[in-house]
Amino acid sequence: MAVEKRARRSSLLRGTLPFLLTCWKLNLAGAMEFRLSFLLTAGMMFLNNTIWILFWSIFFSRFPSVAGWELSDIMMLWAISAGGYGWASMLFGNFNRIAYLVAQGELDVYLTQPKPLLLNVLASRMSLMAIGDFLFGLAMYVYIGEHTLGGLLRFLLALFLSGLFFLFFTLAAGSLAFFIGNAEGLAYQLFNSYVMFTTYPSDIFKGFAKTLLFTVFPAGFISFMPIGLLRSWDTGFMVTTAAALLLLVSVALLLFYGGLRRYSSGNRMVMRS
């Protein structure tokens, strides 16, 4: 039958990619529906990040170096953190709503559609605030980044990895909702702490705290990037980062798809927005 043929030929290029592009196009169109809100929300986030950079400039005017970090490193740290979070939330904006969607039984509609579930859920929302974050990341690079081809590629790689760390860490935290029910509060706290730790130089943490940042709470892989990737390529750090990311992705997927068997749906009135 024609539909079965369609199911078989479903591939990344012919099936998933056009779907994702349409999803993103419509997400953006939905965001543009409220022009003023769109501009204010994105603008406020840009401003919020800039204020933090101003604080750090005041700090560095008194102490020019903190554990070997300079103001430019901090600015690039913010560029990677905000920019990475920004692209992940623009393209896969539901990643920090997983706990909510699971607890409220809102996965039903996605489960009845013939698309990879996680991709469908993640790509179905675009965060307006995140557009401001992403633009801030780019602006920081333009302002202080290394404007060579190598510098640009290293920055783009840092952005890419940072976004994936955000996405999969938050997905893992949110998937706890399958197991412990209402995990929205916990997932929110873990996410907020993660964001916070990605904006402080990893070298100011020592001992147990540092171990945590490079193991169960892997924010350190983002916050060391200005030194281990942007200043110069540190192969040891990059290999560890890639391995840690792979492990994190595996754990997150295991938690999500393992938990899905326990999904209990719900009967709340819902609509995608």
Partner: protein, 353 residues
Amino acid sequence: MNVLETKGLAKTFRIKRKEAGLGASIRSLWAPQWIDKQAVGGIDLTVAEGETVAFLGPNGAGKSTTIKMLTGILHPDSGEANVLGYVPWRDRKRLAYRIGTVFGQKSQLWYHLPPIDTFELMSRIYELDRTEFRQRRDSLIERFELAPYLSTPVRRLSLGERMRCEIACSFLHRPALLFLDEPTIGLDAIIKERIRELIAELNREEGTTVFLTSHDAGDIERLCRRAVVIHHGGIMVDGPVERLKRDILRYKTVTIRTPDAAGPELTFDSTGKEHPAALLSLPFGTQRLPSEPALLKLSVDLTVTEVGVVLAELMSRLIILDVTIEDPPMEEVIKTLYERNQEIPVFEEGTPP
């Protein structure tokens, strides 16, 4: 050919139990109590291609849970299911290409965007050929009369307009089997009727098998040829709707409002008490139901008389301000069935049309 088969399909939910009050909440922190609530208790069901099946039951009977297992949303605890050759929870994606779903309470439409954009997204989700998609979309727009709303954001549509878009959307990829979970919930009578007509049309013309859960006796009468009634998670009745109508849905409730605040003289005497003799003057085939003072509420038995005949007789004897004709609520239907089932055996499984 059967498009749906289940054997012993069962699902139990684990629910936390807590006594009232803060003390009990604190105790449940370290010693939570759980109870197992059986939502669906071993359902055996067969649906043939092209059938229109109403899956009925009161709230909490397990209708939605069953439909969610059949569409791959929920995993059952035990039992088997085969929908269009697939095990729903194992072959979810492949099955999804061939079924359509409409959940009255869960929308597929994009809230802030016009329905035309959701059509576009659906075409990508089901990987429809572009020319085929445009033809199909335009024909559904025409059939469902959606043209005036296509460019209006969904949030500005009425519930009826939204449901029409919702159902049209679910037909876009020409599903072989359509699951509808309470599609007419919250809609007014005219829109309900239109939606039923549209689904019936597509069943007739495209052979789409329809599996519908509803609370509304009208949905069943107008749309389905077979009714499966479940209660407490198990099948109580499975038979042709005609039979269900003859035995159970044979009553209509007629409510009449009169100008007399004390109530229609028909059944009351001057003291306001029900007069035994007056009861005799009720139209043939009707029975009085309890109601507010100014109302006369009658249950009309359609096997012995017609609503029109009853109304004509009442109009000749009373001044009537308002009339409502309704189906008895599903809860009452189920209650009657349940009571009868204590005495008579369950109907035989229905034969496909």
